[in-house]
């Protein structure tokens, strides 16, 4: 399905006129027979699309700029990785790549339609209001405010049409900061509001604090930005009691499910009490996802962290089990030829269980896209081996966000809430 474009050309208004205009738009007198305003939720999106903006500016990608993660964008990003002599394991929208492309010449222009393209996965949920903050690479650009109403067309005909509207605030950093004052009146108190920070977690902290304030529910991605900063931010938000959802955690779902599946048969449960070693391999140099996985396992099994160490190769740590025995943890960053769009995705996991009596057990999980030779080596022959392939399906961020929104998730997942602080401690 291709993204839907708003049916009417967005109207440019002065920021101060936006709340009144939208109020009038949805007043009873104005509704006519075209449908009613959806009584669902509001979504605010921080949509910098830095990679797309820089690739368009340098002439490596044709416009318009949409903020969507298209195949063309990813192809152009991968080509730019080669052209700028970055390591091949650099993801196609990584910060290093954006910085490298920013050094290239070019002043190509394209229409900026951020906030006006609505992914079908999101429009299917009939959001009442989509507010997009679209920072421009020209930090001094003034504020533009665009407004449009839209009514998603029901796919199978019939059905109630519940309409929504989109608001776009576009401009440089300072202009956006000034424009944020119009946001609160645009959020009906009777509906939940979500903030999707679709950018680096270590950029524009002042704007994030303003935008993602409680009780707004926050969606972020700890794979985007400095790993330590990402995990600390996640921890602080969780500890503050805000409802937080992490797309990086969401992408771990099949790993968690597969590992739990291995230990579903009751005769394997005992092995969980005798784990002596945990190894995790991740793509590239972003350990956040691997650490979240380790923290989840440690939390579920009641391990205590004794200490951790960061090195070029990754992270090592020592845990103790309930019975006082030691567990060695190692997270290795491994290079890959065709990196995932998301930095630091897990490619393998190994658990070694050594009971005092009886045969040891080795559990290896491998991503279907990569090999597990490193984890399969190292004298595992004497252990009973359980090996599973983890199916990792790469959904677009919009699909992931839609999945979160459709599930309600009005509070932080308790498993994430427990794992986030421990994952942050592993890097500190």
């Amino acid at each position: 399905m291709s993204p839907q474009l708003t049916l009417q050309t967005p109207l440019e208004l002065a920021p101060s006129e936006v709340p009144t205009y939208l109020e009038q738009l949805w007043s009873t007198e104005q509704q006519g027979n075209t449908g009613s305003g959806a009584n669902t939720f509001c979504l605010l999106i921080w949509q910098p699309a830095w990679a797309e903006q820089q690739l368009v500016r340098s002439g490596r990608l044709n416009g318009p700029i949409t903020g969507q993660q298209s195949n063309e964008l990813l192809d152009a990003g991968r080509q730019a990785v080669i052209d700028t002599d970055l390591p091949l394991s650099t993801p196609p929208t990584a910060g290093e790549l954006i910085a490298a492309v920013a050094q290239l010449d070019g002043d190509h222009k394209a229409d900026d339609l951020r906030g006006q393209y609505i992914d079908p996965a999101l429009s299917e949920l009939q959001p009442r209001r989509l507010i997009t903050l679209a920072p421009t690479i020209n930090a001094n650009q003034g504020l533009e405010t665009l407004v449009a109403a839209y009514c998603p067309l029901p796919e199978e005909g019939g059905g109630t049409t519940a309409c929504g509207d989109v608001v776009v605030l576009r401009g440089g950093h300072d202009a956006l900061r000034d424009g944020m004052s119009i946001l609160q009146p645009l959020l009906p108190p009777s509906m939940p509001s979500w903030v999707w920070w679709n950018g680096f977690l270590d950029e524009a902290p002042d704007l994030m604090d303003q935008l993602a304030c409680a009780p707004r529910r926050l969606i972020l991605d700890t794979a985007v930005g400095n790993a330590s900063h990402c995990l600390n931010l996640l921890r602080s938000r969780v500890e503050s009691g805000q409802a937080v959802n992490d797309l990086n955690w969401l992408r771990l779902r099949s790993w968690r499910e597969t590992l739990a599946m291995v230990f579903d048969p009751p005769n394997r449960r005992d092995a969980l009490c005798h784990i002596t070693q945990l190894d995790i391999d991740v793509e590239g140099h972003h350990p956040a996802q691997g650490l979240l996985m380790a923290a989840w396992i440690a939390d579920r099994l009641g391990w205590q962290l004794q200490g951790s160490k960061i090195s070029e190769e990754g992270v090592t740590a020592q845990f103790t089990r309930h019975d006082g025995a030691d567990i060695r943890f190692q997270l290795m960053t491994v290079p890959t030829g065709q990196p995932s769009v998301h930095a630091g995705q897990m490619v393998g996991l190994r658990l070694i269980c050594q009971p005092e009596q009886g045969q040891g057990v080795c559990v290896i999980l491998c991503a279907e896209s990569g090999g597990c030779m490193r984890l399969e080596g190292g004298g595992m022959a004497s252990l009973e081996l359980h090996e599973e392939i983890v199916s990792v399906q790469h959904a677009s961020p919009e699909m992931d966000v839609a999945r979160l929104l459709s599930g309600g998730h009005d509070s932080t997942n308790p498993l994430l809430a427990a794992a986030a602080p421990l994952a942050a401690r592993l890097l500190n």
Partner: protein, 507 residues
């Protein structure tokens, strides 16, 4: 069930959908079903943290109980479940309320509307309501009407009605009830419950068929020679004589539970996992189903009634000796019948269904028997080669087994059957939820996938109309065969299959 600790890595991994804030209203709150099934299921949902914090349960019945009396009655009934969860119960009980309501009295229903508004304020349930009619079937129509007249069903997004079985007594009454119910609200507000559809193992039939490529190509008349569907109980009529005397096994079990199992076993693959797509396919297969001999139904249906049995030390009374049962009752406690599904997939394949009380074992299962190998190359250790069978065990001992021939150890080339087993206990180590847990959650989520639609119900009644008419008009043509308690039913039922050269499976 294997006694074992919970898998710590499994905790919290279920991807449960989130139930919106709401008030569940149970009519018939003083009845058996409420304290035996509904409140325990809701308490289970509460313990699993699947109910929203903005939730209320309002019990309604004619008895003049207070909130506290209702809470006390429920606590008494659930004492064994509460013992280890006192704190959880105390929290849950604070969400229980009671309002004396007679659905036949309009002023009572108006007062109920006021009470619901108060609860909305008190519990932030936002006017979102699920009404559960756990009342006598004769009040289903008037109950819906009363709710509609009081304006309690006017918002199709925020109000829904759950109706227990039996939905009608025959095709005509089901049609009439559907007309009344549909005049009170939209179809997507009506949830006709069949608790068999809430069973994990019944839903697993769909997963087994439509998530694997190996079964669907052979799931048809080319490979399957017959299908047996059994729902056997060891208990007698117990305290339900009053109801059972007016229903019998055909109305109580076959028209709903067994027919739903048949529909799920025989349906075509839906285009997508979508409530309407699934219900369309189930309705289509029921519309294609017929009795094996509609002109002379006595050739394809056997009725039975349990007689005395048991041992000298522990005798079991016969049905006619049970309290509340007419000593000359001709109500069937056992039914066996043969059906066909007239479509491309199943033409000519007999479906044998049977159900009964006081049978030898408690079990529900679907057995698909495959055609024999065209040539027998090997001697069979058991006398003759055994046909391959796929057995889907619905309850107890939930799981599946596949029976096929292997070489018997030794120097010769003799074959013998073995069973390849899948057991929920051994694979998952955790009991599955009661059907009502799943179905109550689905109703509150407005997900109708596991509920029967009006056309399904009507098609199911229409299927058995020749039998019901015969029982009504000329019962002597469909005689009651007595059988000893705790046996597998009357010999006539064995003869029904013997005519086709088959045997009932003896599990």
């Amino acid at each position: 069930m294997v006694a074992t600790a919970t898998n710590p890595l499994r905790v919290g991994l279920r991807q449960e959908r989130v139930i919106a804030p709401q008030c569940l209203v149970i009519f018939g709150a003083s009845g058996d079903l409420t304290h035996r099934k509904l409140v325990p299921a809701l308490f289970e949902l509460f313990k699993q943290r699947r109910l929203p914090s903005e939730f209320a349960l309002l019990g309604c019945a004619r008895r003049p109980w207070s909130d506290d009396e209702f809470r006390g009655k429920m606590a008494e009934a659930l004492a064994s479940k509460i013992a280890e969860n006192q704190e959880a119960w105390d929290q849950f009980a604070s969400k229980l309320f009671y309002e004396p309501v007679d659905l036949q009295q309009p002023e009572d229903v108006v007062r109920l509307g006021g009470r619901l508004e108060t609860i909305d304020q008190q519990c932030a349930t936002r006017g979102n309501r699920t009404f559960y009619l756990s009342v006598s079937p004769k009040f289903y129509g008037t109950g819906c009407r009363a709710l509609a007249d009081a304006g309690l069903l006017k918002d199709p997004q925020r109000s829904r009605v759950v109706i227990e079985k039996p939905f009608g007594r025959d095709y005509g009454s089901a049609q009439a009830l559907n007309r009344v119910v549909k005049s009170c609200g939209q179809e997507n507000q009506i949830f006709r419950i069949d608790h068999y559809l809430g069973k994990e193992t019944v839903q697993n039939i769909m997963v087994l068929r439509f998530a694997n490529t190996i079964f669907e190509p052979i799931w048809n008349r080319n490979y399957i020679s017959s299908v047996q569907i059994t729902a056997a109980e060891t208990v007698g009529v117990e305290e339900r004589a009053g109801y059972y005397e007016t229903s019998g096994a055909l109305r109580d079990m076959v028209q709903n539970h067994l027919t739903q199992m048949l529909a799920i076993t025989a349906m075509e693959p839906p285009g997508r996992f979508d409530p309407e797509a699934i219900r369309n396919e189930k309705a289509k297969v029921l519309q294609a189903a017929r009795l094996a001999d509609e002109q002379e139904p006595w050739n394809c249906c056997i009725r039975g009634q349990y007689g005395p049995g048991g041992s000298h030390d522990a005798p079991l009374a016969g049905y006619r000796q049970e309290p509340g049962v007419d000593p000359n009752s001709t109500t069937e406690t056992y039914v066996a019948m043969k059906l066909f599904v007239d479509n491309w997939r199943w033409q000519g394949v007999p479906f044998y269904v049977r159900t009964g009380k006081r049978l030898a074992k408690r079990l529900s299962e679907v057995v698909l028997t495959f055609r024999e190998a065209p040539v027998h190359l090997f001697d069979a250790a058991t006398g003759g080669p055994t046909a391959n069978q796929l057995i889907l065990r619905i309850q107890p001992d939930e799981g599946a087994e596949f029976r096929f021939e292997v070489k018997s150890p030794g120097s010769g080339m003799r074959s013998r059957p073995i069973d390849m087993e899948f057991s929920y206990d051994e694979s998952f180590g955790e009991p599955s939820d009661e059907g009502y847990v799943r179905l109550l959650a689905d109703a509150m989520l407005s997900d109708p996938t596991l509920f029967t639609r009006s056309d399904e119900v009507e098609a199911a009644w229409r299927l058995y109309t020749p039998l019901l008419e015969l029982i009504e008009d000329s019962p002597w043509q469909l005689p009651i065969h007595p059988y000893e308690s705790r046996t597998w039913g009357p010999a006539a039922a064995d003869a029904l299959l013997a005519r086709d050269g088959l045997l009932w499976r003896r599990p």
